[in-house]
Amino acid sequence: MTSLWNEVCRCFRCKQQQRPANRTVYVGNKHPHDEGVFIPELYPDNKIISSRYTLWNFLPKNLFEQFRRVANFYFLCVGIVQLTIDTPVSPITSILPLVFVITCTAIKQGYEDWLRHKSDREVNDREVQVIRDGQLTTTKSMHIKVGDIVRVQSNKGFPCDMIMLSSVDPDGNCYITTANLDGETNLKTHCCLAETKRCVHEDDFQKLTAFIECEQPIPDLYSFVGNLNIVRDNGERIVKPLGPENVLLRGARLKNTPFIYGCAIYTGQETKMALNSNTKVTKFSRVERRMNTFLLIFLVILLAEAVFSTCLKYWYVFRPIVGQPWYVPQIEIDAQVTVRRVFEDFLAYIVLYNYVIPISLYVTIELQKFVGSMFFAWDVDMFDPGTNERAKANTSDLNEELGQVEYLFTDKTGTLTENDMQFRMCSINGKRYEELGGMLCETSPAGNDPNPVPVLSQSYQHFEEMETFLTVLVLCHNIRVDHPQAVDLGASSMYSYGGYDYEYQASSPDEKAFVEACRRFGVVFHGTHDERLEITFKGEMRRYKLLHSLEFDPTRKRMSVIVQNENDEIYLLSKGAETAILDRVIEGDISSTLLHVNEYAVLGLRTLVIAMRRLESQEYTKFDQMLSEARKSLTQREVKLAEAFDYVEKNFKLLGATAVEDKLQDDVPETIQALLTAGIKVWVLTGDKEETAVNISHSAGHFSRDMLQLKITQMQSGLDCADLIRKHSQTLDNPVNRDEKFAIVIDGTSLAYCLIEHADILRDLCMKCSAVLCCRMTPLQKAEVVKLIKNSRENPVTAAIGDGANDVSMIEEAHVGLGIMGKEGRQAVRNSDYAFAKFRFLMKALLVHGHFYYIRIANLVQYFFYKNVAFITAQLFYTFFSAFSEQTLYESWYLMNFNMVFTAFPILMYGIFEQHLKPSLLMGNPKLYRKISRNENMSIHNFILWNGSGLWHCVVMFFGTLFLLGEENSLFSDGKMIGNWSFGSIVYFGCLVIVCLKLSLSIYYWSLPIWLSFAFSAFSYFVGTAVYNSVLWPDFFSDHNYLFQVWNTVFTSGGVWFAELVLIVLALLPDIIYRCYKDISLTMELGQQRKMTYDSSLIPLRQLSYEETKKFVFPYVTPKTSLQNIHSKENRPKLLPAKFMPRSLKRKHVL
């Protein structure tokens, strides 16, 4: 009853006024007594409906949706026309195929919807525990209402979005995994408010009267603004802020916590997960667009043919010389020209030539793509055992577009690189250190003699500053510690002496790298216990109370924590981008730190600057107040938070900088080289620093050494940009530089200026360059760059590849969006069209799968148009021999089955299984990819070639048969004659065989399914026709038995077989020659390519080692030990001899 009411309300809601900005949710649906009339707000129930149809509306809705497709609607119109006019062919010839096509699609969509129903039902019927009337009752998930108190047990998913009220955990924490939501596999800690964390029994909630004020649901998964109002028995109200850490989202799963209680706030279609789904934009592939052009061309041809034939008909009727053919019934009506009659004649011709528009094209393509896209996920070569992820095709609409990519926009971090950070170097107070063999060593300034002395001992002169630096590194983060054995032993936490048993769960790989590096240096982070961060510094335990954690955000570009040490001193520890920190520094060696940061960046390392600040207690109190106010406010919370952060994050003391290496993924240079050879222009778009990005570009083979580098960076105005662009353009156009290759580097701010007014010249400049690197980009700018190229005059096909949420906009913008299943969550993957685990899989995805998909679909489309041209043009010819009377050449049986049965399967199998070249050859010769670029197989040139051959085949068959008959010669030794249906049968058989053989001349891969499909075609034609023409069908089935025994009789004639043979050979001669030409030229080309020496830019680059990089760009830093060996097993640091020493013996804390 209620759900019905909700349903009604939901229907009316669209007419209602805007909803209030906030919603008030009464915990347990208990509203406070002091409020007057309580009008419950109406919320949707917790039913998830991802299905599109119900049993009742499936038929009308599905039909409606299908007939919205132009092609289907067109055929429906033709069918209706046939039913209404004096039709030349039976209406069944177009209605039956249409019904077939519609049924096929409906079955497919119905099946998909049934699956959705099934999963919906499974989700909606899942049992959940809800407190109703103070009792824990079990109900179905879909019956949860907003305000319900839900109990969720370990390893269960949350049935709706809810505010966490309490946990069995005494600290009020729970652990969740959001793998289903964003793919992050690390456990996250969510907590409840202290005020409600005692309510761990259903009775406890009886006493709780509270309501939650929160914003209406928004799709952003990571933001939430709300307040919890608790009404005490005495009427006193306590207001507590709620943030994202208090919210448990549907889609996430409870882990390692026996149970929690939560209050439902967003249900059903209003959950954040539901709001995040179905926002995908539909993209159309180049092939599909060209196909629609072809359809349009054929529609015009069809109309032209019909108009032409109609005109000829009336010309014929009114010819002056000849008298009336008295034998034709009602011949006089031909002479009565009325608009209606002319129009009917026109429509009759449309019906007759209608087959030139291939009806089964769409359904075949749908099947082909559906099956074809499975190969993508099935490919073992694109399976990554490391992450246990196979490739994924989120759509099958763009399969062929993978073979058409001209511009590739790639993210750097996590896409070209592993996003697996390793601590390499640091600069502490103006001194350079690097990690060697698990120990921090001083880098000798001379460069030739690295100082391998472990510096982490108290005797070392700079020990104090180093201790501070490392303590900041080990404290300033949001990492959680897991001890794998703790679970087995049932302990809530366990200490590990050296820390090597710990698994650090971090959302930021940099932080993880820091903490792990510190662990190697003997500074171990043990986790949070009793709201205190515990570390052991060389065996000495230190505890810090974590007061606040100021999370990272991309505008601030820094992250801080506020801690209180055991001496009750309060410190702000901060790390961030050098731009975000250095101008807030008041103390420390800024100049040399900045120098070091730049040196590190040149080496391709990621740098962060470390700073700290001591807070006086009144300062802290003020900040604490600001922060809690900001966190409580429902409006402009972000702004207020920023203000608070800004207040405290200043007057830093600079401690130093860190350099973290992000290793290149495997085979990145090879992959990029192959893509370049394949004619794909690769652009790297990154948010990283210019120096880091340039270095990665070099080592990834994106930039090669012989390229001249142009820069458009650090521009201050659009005018400067324009000048520079023009200057660069002149350099490029200068004939002196004709043989040079150019690389261009653009940074985000300059790009912003350029895009405002000078987008065109920038585009022209970039498109002339061999390599483009854009650094310091915001996510939106990435999308703008893609758009810039996408909308250029040549209209190239663009692909964007990335792994993080910051790549989503460019992935959505590009023609093909590619996601890397990386460490930065699932957002890129979810929004991509195709996804795989490693960058190197791109090579197979584009060069092999893309190439195959493209060849298959392009030839499939061309073949479809071709075969109908070859088939139906004879009808046009026949019009001239039948007094323009709209007489059909082929009997209905033939018309009906040509596309639906006789020629249906070979082309479908071709579309699924064809491999015109060996995959290994495609991988080894990326140049082959250029052969299909710019939609080559569907170019107008090829279109004419295909359909020209169709025309030729039809001409040969029709006129060949015409000559065979001569003046209607007898074809039998007993002198008997054949009639018009026999004539049609002869032409038809020839056309059918030619059409099949033409396809077989396109096939390079004769696998079993292909053979079977041809066998089926032959079987269905011979057996089907033999049966059909042997039966005298009753009246209701067909009006005339035109074909009765015709086929059986006419094919007993030897002359017919002889004619078919010679005509088929004649018709296919050009095709055989063309295939030979293609095969021979390709063989020769592949042979010659072998002998050809590669020009220097095509030599595959290998990743430069660090020594080489250093020698190349930074000659005075040359450590002997290769940095890459540091993490090999042998170099694991021995445990330093450290003990938990009594505090009194220790030096005074630096913090």
Binding site: P88, R840, Q887, N969, K976, I1072, T1083
Partner: protein, 385 residues
């Protein structure tokens, strides 16, 4: 508290089985397949083979066709005994009962050996006109007792005998209405001395399937009834009823009349001929065929063709195992065969000039990538699929 500790993500979900795709031939797109490659070397023999097969075949076919004797005489403008053109007398279609008889002599220059067939040929006659083709009722022709005739038979479905009586037409439709109704008699004159009537057979001219299955006469409902009762003849039939088409032969009468059946199989093209009679070779003079010499042909000229600019002819012809005289097949085979030989020669030249040096040579291609470092031999024999 088994799970009470924050530890590694729970083992049950994350330690899921490997999602590694199955390494099957189908899924990895490595189905065994024949991968043919057409190079000059491989198509050469095929072209020569086709050429060498087609040219002799063409010669045989051409000779076969040329051996057939055929005689054709256009009698459209023939005159009757009053030297009036019969065609002019037939300008009015409704002039029923008007007969016009043409008599003329034809001369066969040589003996027609074997079975001789007699055709009539019409030109500019569109039996394939849409409204004409479908103007028939197959059920009626099959002999079913039809209550209502097929509407496409209009306007030859029913006929008003007078103001009140309207009868169904048997057989209905325009095709039957326009049944060809000239009749011929041939008299063999030899060199002028003989005068032998050439007897001709009216049967064996229609398709067996038509004669046996598709066409059938209605059977009387209870023995005594006349199955033809209630039907009248098509308007153009000069008062002849369908059961009067061949009163001498019960099996060639009514719908099963072969002249009717032949006519009902509508021709594909506006210029056509239809088998009309077989020469009766039982006659002593004609056992080996038709001897050369003069024949006197008498025609009951009844079918008007000049109205639509058509012509009528009689054709006498023998047949071969391939049917009638038509050099097309032979020529086609010769031409296609020659083209193939020519192409073969061209490909041979290509093969000799370039083939050996470039693509015949075996070479090893080391693929650039580590992942596909298998060796690939590309030769003219292997495929590069």
């Amino acid at each position: 508290m088994a799970n009470g500790t924050p530890g590694t993500p729970g083992p049950e979900a994350e330690k899921a089985a490997s999602r590694r795709p199955k390494d099957t031939k189908l899924k990895q797109q490595r189905l065994p397949a024949w991968q043919p490659i057409l190079t000059a070397g491989t198509v050469l023999p095929a072209f020569f083979a086709i050429g060498l097969a087609f040219i002799p075949l063409g010669v045989v076919l051409l000779v076969t066709s040329n051996d057939i004797q055929e005689y054709r005489y256009d009698y459209t403008q023939c005159v009757n005994s009053n030297e009036d053109k019969c065609a002019d007398l037939l300008t009015n279609l409704t002039a029923t009962g008007q007969t016009c008889t043409c008599t003329f002599k034809i001369e066969l220059k040589e003996d027609f050996v074997g079975t001789v067939y007699m055709y009539y040929g019409l030109t500019n006659f569109y039996q394939n006109h849409r409204r004409y083709v479908r103007s028939r009722d197959d059920s009626q022709l099959h002999g079913y007792d039809v209550d209502s005739l097929y509407s496409d038979c209009e306007p030859f479905k029913t006929k008003k005998l007078n103001t009140s009586v309207e009868m169904k037409i048997a057989p209905c439709g325009a095709i039957a209405n326009s049944l060809f109704n000239d009749s011929y008699t041939f008299v063999y004159k030899g060199d002028g001395t003989k005068n032998v009537n050439v007897s001709m057979l009216r049967t064996g001219i229609a398709w067996a399937s038509d004669k046996d299955v598709k066409f059938g006469n209605p059977s009387s409902k209870n023995g005594s009834d006349d199955p033809w009762a209630g039907f009248t003849n098509p308007p153009n039939w000069n008062n002849k009823m369908v059961y009067q088409l061949d009163p001498d032969d019960e099996n060639n009468n009514g719908y099963k009349n072969e002249d009717l059946i032949v006519w009902m199989r509508t021709a594909a093209l506006p210029t056509f001929r239809k088998l009309h009679r077989r020469i009766n070779h039982q006659q002593t003079e004609f056992t080996d065929g038709l001897p050369k010499g003069q024949y006197e042909v008498t025609i009951d000229y009844a079918y008007p063709v000049t109205l639509f600019d058509g012509t009528k002819s009689i054709i006498l012809t023998t047949t071969s195992w391939l049917g009638g005289k038509n050099p097309f097949l032979g020529i086609a085979y010769l031409v296609v065969g020659s083209i193939c030989i020519l192409l073969g020669v061209i490909f041979l030249l290509i093969h000799l000039k370039w083939g050996r040096n470039t693509y015949r040579r075996q070479f090893v291609h080391q693929s650039q990538t580590r992942r596909t470092s298998e060796m690939i031999n590309v030769t003219s024999r292997t495929t590069f699929n």
